[in-house]
């Protein structure tokens, strides 16, 4: 029986010739991850298992990403728990200042590779699916078991296929494609399913742009988002890979639970209005004088990669952040930070009046470095705009691409890039 990409990877990792949606399987994990928020619970649970060592320290990664450099005593205590466990077990560990946001860091460092099964105690683990891996987020207890045994139970998900045709317009980015898609199917439109993204529009995209799309699969309820491996993937992977990898391809006659086709040339710069990623509308329909903003955040595992910073700097550089607006720029990893430094992007942002910080999740989840007050509104390149996500329960987040966010910072209100750049 033919299989989808997700089914191929899961079959290979469960020692079965084939799997079908609904099968309960025990899956071998190539990589297991937790961060400074989820690791403390995972470690507590790991201790209860009565196991003394993780299954393979080279495949267990712990990353200080969310509340770092630590914002208060409690977050410092949690970071300490993770650091001490990493030392004790000899796990792969990224210290504050040397890593960054988990989902940007792992592909960048060649730790997650095509064909992998990767489980992480963080819902945006699905980001790494852009490499042709089966990457999925779970809770800390699941991850404790995976750390101990190298295995975890899964139900084989049905696969929904999303095919993008045509060339994107001048100001349309991969972020607009995924916001539009979630708007189309709804925030539970792919619950429990694997979202397989493909089509000629994606073939022309960089890995930075692709990772933005798979990052938001969970915002449609997806168990993972995956993309097919091509030359772009392999060019990205080859210089970074720390071990061998396997390329899987879906069978041509594989069965999909549904197929959605999109004409990318017709998708405009899109924003998701409060309070749901599924509340997607073209920016032209909601911009204008009335959509006053207080803050812009450019960063996160969705859009904090070097291309995102370059594009934002191109719009903000040589201009000024509008009066009454704060613009916060945070690269997703320290390697990206260094690259931005070398390319003069930090100077451009700083001269324009932006705050530029070291790699962290920062304000995305209302941690710190840009938390919103009551009634404030932020245009953000991140992935969630639920009530209270970035601060006060009565603050608002509008999700957008880096070019829309940058244009909005300059305009002082939600703006289409062409309103700022002629």
């Amino acid at each position: 029986m033919p299989m989808t990409l997700a089914e191929k990877i899961l079959a290979a990792h469960s020692g079965r010739p084939r799997v079908e949606p609904g099968d309960l399987i025990n899956v071998r994990a190539d990589l297991v991850m937790a961060n400074d928020i989820t690791a403390p619970i995972a470690i507590e649970q790991f201790r209860k298992l009565g196991v003394s060592r993780v299954f393979d320290p080279e495949r267990v990664v712990l990353i200080a990403s969310h509340f770092v450099p630590n914002k208060d005593i409690q977050s410092a205590e949690q970071a300490k728990v993770m650091r001490e466990f990493a030392r004790e077990q000899g796990c792969v560990y990224f210290e504050q200042g040397q890593g960054g946001v988990d989902h940007a860091l792992l592909p960048e460092q060649g730790l997650v590779l095509p064909g992998d099964v990767f489980v992480g105690a963080d819902s945006h683990t699905c980001t790494s699916g852009a490499l042709g891996a089966f990457a999925t987020g779970m809770g800390s207890t699941d991850i404790a078991v995976a750390m101990a045994t190298g295995e975890i139970w899964m139900k084989v998900p049905p696969t929904i296929r999303f095919v993008y045709h045509g060339r994107m317009g001048r100001w349309t980015r991969s972020k607009d494609l995924i916001l539009h898609t979630i708007g189309h199917i709804g925030t539970d439109g792919a619950t429990y399913a694997a979202m397989q993204f493909e089509g000629e529009t994606l073939q022309g995209m960089s890995m930075d742009a692709r990772l933005t799309m798979t990052n938001m699969a969970v915002e449609a309820g997806g168990k993972t988002g995956l993309m097919l491996v091509d030359e772009v993937t392999l060019d990205y992977v080859r210089p970074r890979a720390r071990r061998q990898w396997t390329v899987y391809e879906p069978d041509p006659d594989a069965e999909y639970a549904a197929t959605y086709e999109f004409d990318a040339s017709q998708i405009e710069p899109t924003v998701s209005m409060p309070f749901s990623p599924g509340n997607a509308v073209p920016v032209r329909e909601v911009g204008g004088r009335d959509m006053r903003i207080d803050q812009v955040f450019i960063g996160s595992c969705t859009n904090g990669r070097i291309e995102d910073l370059r594009e934002a700097a191109e719009i903000i550089g040589g201009r000024r952040v509008a009066e009454g607006v704060r613009c916060i720029v945070i690269p997703a990893t320290q390697r990206i930070y260094l690259q931005a430094l070398r390319e003069g992007l930090i100077e451009a942002f700083t001269e324009a009046g932006c705050a530029f910080c070291a790699a962290t999740c920062g304000p995305c989840l209302g941690g710190y470095l840009g938390v919103l007050a009551e009634g404030e509104r932020c245009v953000s390149t991140s992935n969630r705009n639920f009530p209270g996500r970035m601060g006060h329960a009565k603050s608002e987040v509008i999700l957008a691409s880096p070019v829309v966010a940058a244009a909005s910072a300059v305009a002082g209100r939600l703006a289409h890039p062409e309103e700022v750049v002629s």
């Binding site: 399987i25 298992l49 989840l365 639920f386």
Partner: protein, 171 residues
């Protein structure tokens, strides 16, 4: 096992940021987390909830972040069970893994109003709305989920598996 409690009704797509906002994720202590349970959805919830009470919600309950702090906070403030029209995947997994009963039942969710008295038989999945004198049947758990629940969650299940003679059949 039978549960009885008052219903606290929530809407659709209640995400884990509303269940326990990220600003409180600096601890793993259930009692501390419980003080802020549902804070961004209903700031008065913690003041009203009593041990044994039941959360009833619409579709996609627990969407968003994978934080296990969400079911920990819910259980920490004494909630005995969550009934919803549907659950987000990771929340469902987390709840089962830690032994917080979660029941999928559209009919019960639709018919239940805030403050209704409910009685739930976890073994059979029968939900009785005592206020409205109606009875509903939740979607049954798959056998493997039942095994997990009966073992007392994933940690106990895995401990047994690690101690046992070999692979658990089927999984």
């Amino acid at each position: 096992m039978s549960i009885r409690g008052k219903a606290h009704r929530f809407g659709a797509h209640v995400d884990t940021d509303q269940i326990i906002p990220a600003r409180y994720l600096v601890t793993t202590d259930a009692q501390e987390l419980a003080q802020h349970c549902m804070e961004d959805a209903d700031p008065n919830f913690v003041g009203r909830v009593r041990p044994g009470d039941i959360i009833v919600a619409d579709v996609n309950f627990g969407c968003g972040s994978s934080r296990e702090h969400a079911p920990i906070a819910i259980r920490g403030c004494g909630v005995s069970c969550v009934i919803a029209r549907s659950f987000a995947r990771i929340f469902f997994r987390n709840a089962i893994n830690m032994g917080l009963p979660v029941l999928e039942c559209s009919e019960a969710a639709e018919a239940t109003q805030d403050g209704d008295e409910l009685e739930v038989d976890l073994a059979t999945g029968t939900i009785r709305n005592l206020t409205r004198r109606r009875e509903f049947q939740a979607k049954p758990y798959e056998p493997f989920m039942l095994e997990l629940i009966e073992a007392g969650g994933l940690i106990e299940y895995t401990k047994r598996r690690l101690a046992g003679p070999g692979e658990v059949e089927g999984v």
